[in-house]
């Protein structure tokens, strides 16, 4: 009996030894990350703007692209408030979306090949890596009419569409 226990004890380490495998899959995907939520500055009583020069903060979106050429980024600046006090005059909206920081110099092609229509900018995500997009938004109320006091919220759309 003692010999059997001894043999088992000696063989136990060999029985426990094994290779631990770490398995991972990398698959084509697009991730949209909201790096910075934009804030409107109020440089004039009649103007709200996310431009830093106007006291605002630009919304910054990060796109992580695993496979080149599988997606396009479709970014839209706001054309209406999602919530605001009652507004009796017309609000004029302007804005833009531009490529900011990039992880690969070849991503300058995103800016070169972008397509703009209405409030939308489309960027072909033709290079894998990470790209940051800066979105500017500005709202002017009436003809130099002061915005009523209250909460103003507008929506920036960030889409990643498989092509």
């Amino acid at each position: 009996m003692k010999k059997l226990i001894l043999a088992a004890a000696l063989l136990a380490p060999f029985a426990l030894a094994d290779n631990a495998e770490i398995i991972g899959n990398v698959e084509s995907k697009c991730s949209i990350t909201t790096d910075t939520q934009g804030v409107y500055g109020n440089p004039l009583a009649s103007k709200l703007s996310t431009l830093p020069a106007d006291g605002g903060v630009l919304p910054i979106l990060r796109y992580d692209i695993i496979t080149a050429g599988s997606y396009k980024a479709v970014i839209g600046y706001p054309t209406a408030f999602a919530s605001s006090p009652d507004l009796s005059d017309i609000v004029t909206w302007t804005g833009s979306a531009v490529v900011g920081e990039v992880s690969d110099a070849l991503m300058s092609a995103f800016e070169t090949n972008k397509v703009e229509y209405n409030n939308i900018t489309e960027f072909p995500l033709s290079v894998a890596g990470t790209a940051w997009f800066n979105v500017a938004s500005s709202a002017n109320y009436g003809y130099l009419t002061a915005f009523p006091a209250g909460q103003y919220v507008a929506t920036v759309t960030a889409e990643c569409v498989a092509i």
Partner: protein, 124 residues
Amino acid sequence: MRLLFLLVLLSGYASSHSLTPTYPSLDLSYVPGVYKADLELFNARKDISYYEVSVFDADWNAITASILPEKILRVPYSTSKKITVYIPAALKGKAVYICTKSKTLYTPVTQVTVILSKICSKIK
């Protein structure tokens, strides 16, 4: 490159949304005449807990589809949710995009922009 890496690490508000696979396939389901596609949504946006799933044709017209577990999903922060989209055989050739869109419930501060993220996979 180091600067970019630092930016990623230091971006305190960073939060993301992703959908896989990029090109899901439509396979026959256990219901005759109904096809299904399986996808997975990952929510790393702290500010978002709900996502809406929709199906569109090539011209971005909405297509009738049944979605499990629900059309509007609760996906807590840092979790993933498996989605199954059921499409009638008659619409199999028309359905092109399966999209997930973030739903904003509230905004805690004034004068902000809210970011709506939408990711669309394309049916093979």
